[in-house]
Every structure is written in C-alpha cells, then in structure tokens.
C-alpha cells in the first residue's frame, strides 16, 4: 500500500490500517513514485481552497479525487497541471519539484471539464497541437494523430470542427489531444460531466480500456461516487480542502474513516451512541435510544466513548416482525414507511423505535412476499458489517446530508 496521508496534528493517530492506509517506507518507494504532493496548500486571500494535502500516486494507477463541489479537488488538479501555484508545499513529478514550472514545461496533460477544444481548429489540428509545439517531425505527427484518433474511435473525423461533433465525440477528441503527447500523467477534470447517463457509462468503460492500453497514470477528478468506484484503482475522498480518506474503492466503501466519507460514498444508516464495552472480539455500543449494538473490536479501534455506528442499507436484512433473528446479529424493530421497487432491488425506508429513519435494500431474488407500507418488521445485520466513525463536527454532517 503506497498511499500515505499526513495526518493533521489535531487528529487522533490512525489505528485501523484498512481505513487510514499504512505508512510506507518513503525512501524505498521513491523510484516507483509518479506524483507526490507534499503539504500542498492553496489560499485565495483568506479563503483556503486546498488545505495541506499530502498524497502519493503510483505509476500506472487510475486514481480518483472524489468530493462534493467546492471541496478543492479541481484546485488540486490545477496545481498538478501547473495552472495554479501552491501557496505552500510542493508537487513532485518523478521526484522533481515542478511546483513553479509553467504547464507547458510539464509532462502532464489534461482533459478539461469543458473539453476546451480549440473551436477554430479541426479535429486533426486539435490533436496535433501539442506535438507541433514539441516540434515533432511532421510525418510522425501524422502517424501518431491517426493512431490516436483510431484508438478513440474517431477515424474519419479529421476535418470536423469541434462545433460539428457530439458531446461524446468532443470528449474523445479532448482525450486524444491529451494522450497523443504521451504524458507521464493524465489529468481528467470531470470529463464526463457533460454527457448523458448512458453515454457516461459507456465512456467510463472506454476510459478504463484506454488507460489499460496506454498504461499512463490517470488522475481523475469527479463528484460522482459511483463513477469513481467503477474506474479507480484507488481514490481519495476530499472535503473542505482536505483529504478525508484514501484507499481502494471497496475498502473506503466498507470501512469509511469518517462520518463524511460514510455519508458521501454510498448511503449509510448512522446512529450515535456511546461505547460501553471494549472487551473481547466484539465491542458494545449503547445507542442514544438505549438499544445496544455489537461491533467488531477491530473496527472500533480506540475511538470513543462518543461514536457513531453505521451500516450500509444493503447489509440490512428485513425480516417479518415475528420471525426469529439469527444468532449474533444486531437487530431492531421498525415500521415500513415507504417502499420503492427499482428492479434490481426493493428499497425500504423504515421508521425505528425513536422515529429515526433507516434505509434498507433487499435484492430482488424473485421470492416471497415483500413487506408493505405500515408493516412491522425486524431489521438485522452482522456485527462485522457495522462500522464506527468518530462523530464529526457538525460541518461534515451538513455536507453529507447536502
């Protein structure tokens, strides 16, 4: 695990290796590094857009910066691309500090959110633009542009102007224009944001395919958690100019490190409570309404005594009210408040004993009767599926609900 994250001094030290990422041996991994941010901060006057970010991205990795708008992810990308200078800190590409290098000297290319295709140039000239600046031999330019347009499936579009292309085609030209320069690192700034859902799904796979074909490091910025999870080898969740968590999508999803991550990445049922027993393999947390929930000891770490416990909706099993609960599960009683059928699953919103609402998904296996609105049910889930987060300052809660 190469990712490492400098922890702000006011945070408790990471205890859960899965959630926090291990500290690697810096010296040993240097030659494998591609991109390293060291204490990067960007301030505009009194407004701090990016706050002391340290991050390492490995060569060949598909890495995503994920976060809500205004979290600083695009600013971070701008600084790596060279369009903004960090106020403090440094950016290393291949171990070389490029913080003050202008973009046209960096071996980095960008696919812009708006594509930024040159409207006065045709597709061929757009793609050839970077190569011409590098004074690549004319024949070589022709060959490379042709190959690249073939790779993005735009053969035959050479003479079109950007305005004559569809959104998806424009997106691919932008990609080709960046990739044709064979950068060491490709930055993608929400490149699929302008596309409709179907095209977006298709392009996600396309991007993944191209990345594996060319083997270039991709740094991908998005606010779409699903997109980030589908495509990334690893991702970093950002909020308020800071990195909340770094890791492979499954780890981050299953073991969110903070309340914000829990809320932003997928849906969560979060309940506040107090740790009452840290004992053996299972710790016990008493929720504010009195119910006691069991948690795997390893997932508690040394958090507490005030914590929030969470469980993902798909991990919750919905049983008819009378049915016995399997041994060792956490469970509570609730009333179905709303049901929605979305084909692949049934989604329920339940009302718990103290009026708290829960959501739960049940895979559509095509069996049995389904609870209806007003039915009393019992919800249960495995202690292993229960995660624990520090109750964060009100801000994270605000954002996760936003």
């Amino acid at each position: 695990m190469a990712a490492q994250l400098d922890m702000p001094p006011d945070m408790p030290p990471a205890a859960d290796p899965m959630a926090r990422g291990a500290r690697p041996d810096r010296a040993g991994s240097r030659e494998h590094l591609d991109v390293r941010l060291d204490g990067v901060t960007k301030a505009y006057g009194h407004l701090v857009a990016v706050d002391d970010i340290s991050l390492t991205i490995e060569r060949g990795e598909f890495f995503s910066l994920l976060g809500p708008s205004g979290c600083g992810k695009s600013t971070t990308l701008s600084m790596i691309g060279g369009f903004a200078e960090p106020t403090y800190g440094a950016i290393y590409l291949n171990g070389v500090d490029v913080s003050r290098q202008p973009p046209y000297r960096r071996d980095v290319n960008t696919v812009f959110q708006s594509y930024a295709l040159f409207p006065h140039l045709d597709v061929y000239e757009n793609v050839a633009f970077g190569l011409k600046r590098k004074h690549v031999d004319r024949k070589a330019i022709e060959r490379r542009v042709r190959d690249m347009l073939a790779l993005v499936d735009l053969t035959g579009f050479h003479d079109r102007r950007p305005a004559q292309l569809s959104g998806g085609q424009q997106q691919r030209v932008a990609l080709a224009r960046a990739l044709v320069n064979r950068p060491k690192l490709l930055l993608l700034d929400e490149p699929l944001g302008a596309l409709d859902l179907k095209l977006r799904k298709q392009m996600q796979l396309e991007l993944k395919r191209i990345q594996s074909e060319v083997g270039i490091t991709f740094l991908y910025v998005t606010h779409d958690q699903e997109e980030a999870m589908v495509m990334s080898d690893r991702l970093a969740v950002m909020a308020g100019g800071r990195i909340e968590q770094v890791g492979p999508p499954d780890v981050v999803y299953d073991s969110p490190a903070t309340e914000f991550v829990a809320g932003f990445l997928g849906a969560s049922n979060l309940m506040a409570g107090e740790v009452v027993e840290r004992g053996g393999a299972l710790a016990r947390v008493r929720l504010d309404d009195g119910l006691v929930v069991q948690v795997a000891r390893g997932r508690l770490g040394d958090r507490g005594p005030r914590v929030k416990v969470g469980v993902r909706p798909e991990k919750i099993q919905v049983l008819p009210a009378g049915q016995p609960v399997p041994e060792g599960r956490n469970s509570l009683e609730a009333v179905v408040a709303m049901t929605a059928y979305i084909g692949v699953s049934h989604q329920y919103t339940m009302e718990g004993p103290d009026g708290r609402s829960f959501s739960a998904y049940a895979q559509n296996l095509g069996t049995g009767p389904h609870p209806a609105r007003g039915d009393r049910v019992r919800l249960c889930w495995h202690p292993e599926h229960t995660f624990v987060v520090e109750p964060s300052a009100p801000r994270a809660a605000e954002e996760s609900s936003a």
Partner: protein
C-alpha cells in the same frame, strides 16, 4: 401599454390565443415598418436628389429633372474629394492605431486582476460617455496650450483618443466570452504564453478585433463634432459638408455619400454572408 402584450413567437402559439400572431404583435409589426420607413426617408432624399438637375452646381429643393451627370462628375469638386481623402486617411489611421493600442488593454482588463483596474474602467467609461463637445474642447485647449498646429495629425490623435475606448470595450467583450480553459489547454499542450496567444487566443478574438476596427472606422469617418475643434484648416468630409451647408451643397456631396452608403451596405452584407458561411 396593453398593446405590448408579450404574445407568442411565431413558432410557439400561446394557449388560448388562436392561430397566428395576435392583434398586438400585428400592430407592432406595422409600427416597426413605419419606424424603418422613418429611418430610411432621409437616405432616400439623399439618393433621389443626387440625380436631380442642379443648374448652378448646388442642390436644390425643387425637382428639376433626372440626370446622372453628377455621377459622371463625382470627383469634380476638388477640395470635397480632398476632404474625403482626409477622412479616409484619418479613419484608416485611427482604426489601425486604436486597435493596436486598445486590444492589449482589453486583454488585460478581461483576463487579469490588477491594481488600477477600477480606475481604468472608469477612464474608459468616461472616454465613451464624455460628450463630444467636451472631448473636442479639451483637446483643443490642450493643443492650444502646447501650441501644436492643428491639422491632419491632431485630427488623427483625437480620433484615436475616442476610438481606443470603443476598441477596448468591443474586444474585451469578445475576450470575456472566451473559455479560459482554452488557454490552459494550449499551455497544457506545450504552448508558451506567446505561442498560445498567437495560435489560440488571437484567432479566436480576431472577429472581435475586426468588429472593433470597423466600428472605429465608422466612428472616425462620421465624426464631425470633435473634428471641428481640432481640425485647424484641414477639412474632413463631414466638416466640408457642414461648411458647405451654409451656401448650398454641390450634388457631388450626395453622390459621394451615396457611394459611401452603398459601400457600407455591401460590405456589411458580404461580412454577414461570410460569417454565416463559416458557422456550421
């Protein structure tokens, strides 16, 4: 005011309004045509009277008979022709200089934050908003105190002074409409700021620069008030006419003005067609 009811566009029929445009839009359409007629009447007078007989070489109010003679002698009034040449010289000169001066400032205003930007905005605004009499009087005061002889050069200086502001405004609008990401993209693809400007920014703002230049040309060639202050004994086309009005203008004035009118109209139409062609 009821007459100005926002009726439906031709394409979209408003619910409950029946077919086609309502009464109000029809009245407004008629009104607009009347306004167009009003706008055109003096032009028609000019063109018609350029074909009138004028036995004494001065335009008369009475219709004395059709002749194309004045078109044959369009350039017969030597100092009128000279004045037109002066006007063209000043218009070309001030167009080019004001574009060269104004474009960089427009770029600076559209793309950078800098100290003094608000003041610059105010100066540009004041230059456009200042009444021509004041601009002319102040320039004349200045030239008088400097003891600078008035002539073609001072006319040129004055025209550049008011044209620069218009160029800045027009080019700036164009630059502001440009996606900043295009610049970033160029830099990202290895273009130095200099190359990025000439390969990307410049071709894209060129229509704005051309529009600004044409505006400057038009403003310059038609300016009378400011020119009247700083011209000394040099006469431009409008000044010559303004002077000649006192004693009656020769028909050549209408002839040359008709040429200018047709030239302007034709150029505009060509420009429109070219622009339409270039757009997909």
């Amino acid at each position: 005011m009821t007459g100005l009811a926002p009726g439906p566009g031709r394409a979209v029929a408003a619910p409950g309004r029946g077919d086609g445009p309502g009464l109000a839009p029809r009245l407004l359409s008629l009104y607009t045509w009347l306004l167009i007629l009003y706008a055109i009447v003096p032009i028609a007078v000019m063109v018609v009277f350029s074909f009138n007989q004028a036995p004494s070489g001065r335009v008369t109010l009475k219709w004395l008979g059709f002749t194309t003679a004045w078109y044959g002698h369009a350039f017969a009034v030597a100092d009128l022709t000279d004045a037109l040449v002066h006007s063209l010289e000043v218009a070309f000169g001030s167009m080019i200089v004001s574009v060269i001066l104004g474009t960089p400032l427009a770029l600076a205003l559209a793309r950078y934050r800098f100290r003094g930007k608000a003041v610059t905005d105010m100066v540009i605004f004041a230059d456009i908003a200042a009444p021509a009499v004041v601009v002319g009087a102040s320039l004349l005061s200045f030239f008088l105190t400097l003891n600078l002889p008035r002539g073609l050069l001072t006319i040129l200086m004055a025209h550049i002074a008011f044209n620069v502001a218009f160029v800045v405004v027009v080019v700036r609008a164009r630059v502001s409409g440009l996606d900043r990401a295009l610049d970033r993209a160029a830099a990202d693809l290895g273009a130095t700021p200099w190359v990025a400007f000439w390969k990307v920014t410049f071709p894209l703002i060129l229509p704005g620069i051309v529009a600004a230049g044409l505006l400057a040309f038009a403003l310059s060639i038609d300016d009378l008030i400011i020119t009247s202050f700083v011209s000394g004994q040099t006469l431009t086309f409008p000044l010559w006419i303004y002077g000649a009005v006192k004693t009656g203008i020769p028909p050549q004035v209408f002839v040359l003005s008709t040429f200018i009118f047709l030239g302007g109209v034709v150029l505009t139409l060509i420009n429109t067609i070219v622009v339409r062609r270039n757009l997909p």
